[in-house]
Symmetry: D4
Subunit: 242 residues, 8 copies
């Protein structure tokens, strides 16, 4: 391989991803992520100590003061203490969603409809809604319209068709996203949940059903991943409202 070819190497210039910013000996913050992907780095709570979560939120705030910092799946202690750990800042600790937001939310653009099959799927929907708020995307939640009582969904066809993107959250059989994807022209994102038991297998049955959907174009994220669905939806809304 001639050296001159390498020197005209691939990952230079304004597109190249930047090196990270170290925090203690446990993290290397990807502070360049918002520039590259439109989505800032977010703190995933499980496996981290409360102190690590607070330190990461503080550092993200410091590095990118114009945007709120978000932590998901926070343990109870983080949710309880968040407000007093960031005095003088806008702090939202959503017990239902398990999220902590530090910093003022940006104005919302666009409209995502988050639909759930049952009451128990709501935590995932609320994580999705909290994330969309941080990403500057407008969202509503339509709860408990599972296919066992189809009339509940059909009565809201107008709302469904008005959304620019639909996130459908369902456990057990995972059937609702397939039904919704056959009714609307907006992109539909399926979020399987771990609601159910036995062969539902922690959401694997719902995930497999959604991925095997007979309704074309349904795209799927991981089980209980309301955050991931929000990011995919936000990228779509960002593209539409660019």
């Amino acid at each position: 391989m001639p050296a001159e070819h390498r020197s005209a190497g691939p990952a230079e210039g304004p597109d190249a991803p930047a090196a990270g910013v170290p925090l203690g000996d446990f993290a290397l913050l990807d502070v360049d992520r918002r520039r590259r992907t439109g989505i800032p780095e977010v703190v995933f709570g499980p496996g981290k100590t409360p102190e690590q979560i607070f330190a990461l939120l503080a550092e993200l705030r410091a590095r990118d003061p114009g945007a709120p910092a978000l932590a998901t799946r926070c343990p109870a202690r983080v949710l309880d203490e968040a407000a007093r750990r960031f005095p003088g800042q806008a702090v939202l600790a959503d017990q239902r969603a398990g999220t902590v937001t530090v910093g003022a939310l940006p104005p919302a653009r666009g409209h995502v409809l988050i639909v759930t099959a049952g009451t128990t799927d709501l935590n995932v929907a609320w994580e999705c809604a909290a994330t969309l708020a941080v990403l500057g995307v407008g969202a509503d939640v339509l709860a408990d319209v599972g296919v066992a009582g189809l009339g509940r969904l059909l009565a809201r066809l107008g709302d469904l068709r008005a959304a620019e993107c639909v996130v459908v959250v369902a456990g057990m059989d995972g059937a609702l996203p397939s039904v919704v994807a056959g009714l609307v022209s907006a992109p539909v994102i399926g979020v399987p949940t771990s609601v159910g038991y036995g062969v539902a297998a922690g959401g694997l049955a719902a995930a497999a059903s959604m991925l095997s959907s007979c309704s074309p174009g349904l795209a799927v994220v991981n089980i209980d991943n309301g955050f991931g669905a929000a990011v995919h939806a936000a990228k779509i809304i960002h593209a539409v409202h660019r």
Copy 2:
């Protein structure tokens, strides 16, 4: 254990299952099955030679002349030769269902509606219909009303609600039985099919979705088991029309 207890032993009298009837060194016909369960023994084709299948059909006919004999999942050679192997008898070789029936069909009672999600699920539906005919149960097939185009199903709500039992055959996401079970008062039987690919996993995704259904009361049989669904449905119809 006192001997007198044993001599008043459990499985005597008219309820006791009878011993079988040997055929060659490869089968022991359960000719008592119809007395016990209302369903005669049926020949399951796979793994048997054509000669074994024909011999079993002949023996079943001989032992129970008042009813037709049925073989399912027959290889092509059995389907092709069946008519001339049983001269003078009513023979139905259904290429789509893979079934061979020898002997006149009984009159049909009751009404089962067999619904399929897609065109490709029809073979399983036809196996179900052929079995119901042998068992003296009336049946109709409503094809290709999967949830991707919900209007096709909703337009037939009247038919669905008129049936005494509904068999719903679906591959891929396996969502249709959950939708149907929420719409009708008749018992609903789900038949997952091997239609699909990838995570559909030969029907396992559909089976898991159906077993995890949010619609209460959906009962499920094995993948592609149109025969088993027919037997469960027939037992219901027999009870209703006793």
Copy 3:
């Protein structure tokens, strides 16, 4: 698609499923379900707070005063407090079944026999029995007749054959439903349970064995789903005693 075709749209008229009734921001009650399916909406406890469960029971009672309301898989606190949360009403809190019933039970029609393979399968059987009571169906439980001691089952052949529907609850090998389905003419419903360990895999071995049954017509519900088996059985009994 011509507009006149759409205006003669599919899901209108008396058959159409009705819209739901909102409760707080977390539920949309399917109060139309009993009209459509013969089975009222039931509260599934897991993932709901005690207050949500009580609120749902109260709303179901208010919307459909002529029938009892049922909650399944209730946490201990709901079972303990149920009686004093509904003063002046008939309340049954079944610790073994995990169910709470509010309102007088309807008179029982028909006869379902619930059979268990072992002692440990009884909780599932009791959930099934409690549900059948709410649905107005008569039921008996025959416990601990697993195939390891076949004489226990054979001694009760008369009872088995007298039932209009048989629910067979079994964990571990899941063999009992296959044996029972070969002995009776009534429809048989298999309920795999999570009893067992190792390769029993939380009931998956039993479920797979039942779905693969060599006894034709065995239909299966989810692992530990005594409720679902009861609903399928009730739909059968309702059809027989219409």
Copy 4:
């Protein structure tokens, strides 16, 4: 449920999904799908006879003459005979993609970049490209830029970042979509493929890796489902270029 509530029933009016159009006894065409979802019904080849595929293509053309009809995963005979079965019409039979298109393609809007990890993933990419063409969406294919030689991808960062939507097709480890999703602001869709062997398990390893991605916002479709990825991408492009 009061009748007047039902008569103001849910699924009426212009939003309601329409009933299907029967074809023989094997299909019920969802000719209303394009109105509802922006995506016409498409013929899925496997399990259908060549004659069924040709009949469905003809019917779709007749019902919706302004748009091309598409069949995917066509058997060799359909690919070979397609041109002479539709004389006088524009017919594209793409041997690599396994698709047949009948009717003139619409003009292309927007820009989707389809990226593959390896050479063997190309069939899936070509199915995706053929579908996008039918749906009026512009697309390019960038082949063989898997993570084993990261320079190949980094050299094309400009192209990646210029796309409005990126579809990443990868078998084996399924790592490429996670890498791409961390580099671009456009929505990214992962398509696992069945390329690989052993624990790759027909694409399940790639699918699980993509669904578990550490890169937020990656949405996934079924294994080898280039068609489904194209539909999700087209819905996004349609929204952007509305």
Copy 5:
């Protein structure tokens, strides 16, 4: 089926399994099991209350006073209280094995060698040993001779070859039974254990390895099933020392 055939029915006479003996509404004791199989009914602890376990032990003792009664996998409370619940009787509560034995042990015949791969597999080995003692079979335990240090096993070849039956208990890779089965002429029984993590999958890796053994004649029982291995071994020893 002619009535006379049925009246000469199958399960009569001294071989027929006897009906069970009810205990409360939760158990039907198979007190005939020892006559049929040489193995008395044993109480499986999980899922039973301490009171149920004690009641079952007492009933088994009363019905078969000449033999000890055994309960396996007992919760701590049962182990702790057993001695004072059966005053005046020989009671063994083995904390390591999780077993409770009530009644004097029979004299031991024959010789089973129980071999474990590691220290952590010992609980399963001790359950096996306790069961063999109840069944009147002599046994020794050889601990911690896993294949990572093959010299430990090879140094005991003489002991291995002297046993009449060898039970090999191993978790993780499950390799030891395959090695032992290639070294001895006695029947070898493999017991996979749940020792391990990750892909060991609670013993499924060990179980699969043993079932796939290249050493002919290795027979396998469920994961952690020291009891079942003991019963199979006892049936062999009973046959040898008849």
Copy 6:
């Protein structure tokens, strides 16, 4: 480690396994296996060329002229040509069992009963029988007594109880071995078969059911492994008739 300890090393003396005998560059015959385990090395056909199989049979015969040589799962060509490849020797090519035996069979001792659930399980039973014949063990086959028609089994209780060891071969639900193990005092070996479809999963459902048996003492071998069951049974019979 002191050297003198090592020089008194573990695997010396008459118990030590001997080195193998090379054959071409593809095999190292374990001609010492019969001395160690009572079971000679046997040729496993799959993946070997016919020439390799014939060479291995010839070498085994030459090394151990007093015993027959056995090859299992032989391809058709080996079965067809075996007789003329070993002129002057007793050759048995069993088309149903897939086995080739070269050399005179030893006299049979003991009595194993091989029971099958269905007709299609017979190939596995015949492999088991052919192996037992080579190992000098007497055996009978009782075919088609599956649990769907329990009377067939109960009518043969006397035969079952007379056997010294029972091998139960069953596919689909795998229920029969659990039933048999509760009826006899002889050791019972379960052989799951790949008979079945859908969730039967090539025999995995039957294997899991057998391993999870509620009948104590059932030991299990790999799916379709009639050979392995025969070896375990032979080791038992050898011990009984030593």
Copy 7:
């Protein structure tokens, strides 16, 4: 097999593995392991009591005083008490790694780079580092360079290429090892971790992705097995610096 062949038996002489050293009735220490494999026996904590762990550490120290003894995955009590249980000895109790080391560490040779995808993977990395220290191998940890922010990894290409062996620890998608293996000439070892949820399945998704890697030469150890990766790496470093 002639006796003289056996007496020239296989496993004699200085290469033969030695017999173990018993400790209580629960362990047989493989004190010969370091001679054979270069790696001393190590105490695996789970399933052992604190007293057993301390006894094993003491015995290992006594048998091999020139090297430190190591216990992994220690429960909290062992970590807390270790220092005072071995007075006068160098004791390292690493809370993050879960390891206890007793005895002075040997000087470090060579250089292994341990790379983690995320912060939560660090416990596994620290177990790996602690093990390498005991084995006399130099190591550094580079944390949180997962593929979602590729710039973090590319900025450290120099460090990656300078290592003699690279251990890559990653959960979720398991993509990082495939990327690293395409960038360096040193051997790369992948360690999947249980970090993640849903389809990540406790690390199975990451493990499957790594084993299916498109980057040639990636070798993989069990999920969360930092210890095993360290041993493989140490064997490589020992070979390089022999």
Copy 8:
């Protein structure tokens, strides 16, 4: 992110991976791979046409004339035609390994011992050996020393201990690598194979057993991946003989 940080971007300079070289529209050759990893790009045959394989081999030869080009898992036609497609060049088409090598082999350094459990594992061993030859590494194959006849392995302890790296190829139980890893100080690589049936599950049982090994330091590659094992071994040998 300040631009100057980005302009001092990560992946520049001599370490950066280079862009690929396009071949037709189906491949982007990673001709820089040997510089980065010591291992040239290799053609993986499955899913490619013979013409594509020949074109890739030719291009690799042209780009890197000093080294041989390798294709693995070649279809029969490629193996048969290879010699005449590259006239005047050294061509090795190894029918057993499925490999084609074009160009003179480099001299061999170091010594890898490839060990197989059975005869049927040899194809994978030969693929490994052919790859090592291309990579300039010396290798021997020791066949058929599986654990069923341990003497075969113990007789070769000297050879095992003399190797610088040991590759152990085993299907079925996958036990052999665990045994070998406990006997030698060289790094050991396990290669599970698809040899076996039933629960062996195409090699998954062997893979799981190896990954769960009780012998520390065993590293594993994909099922049947003799090529990958060779690359990992070659990287080790390259490091040792640098």
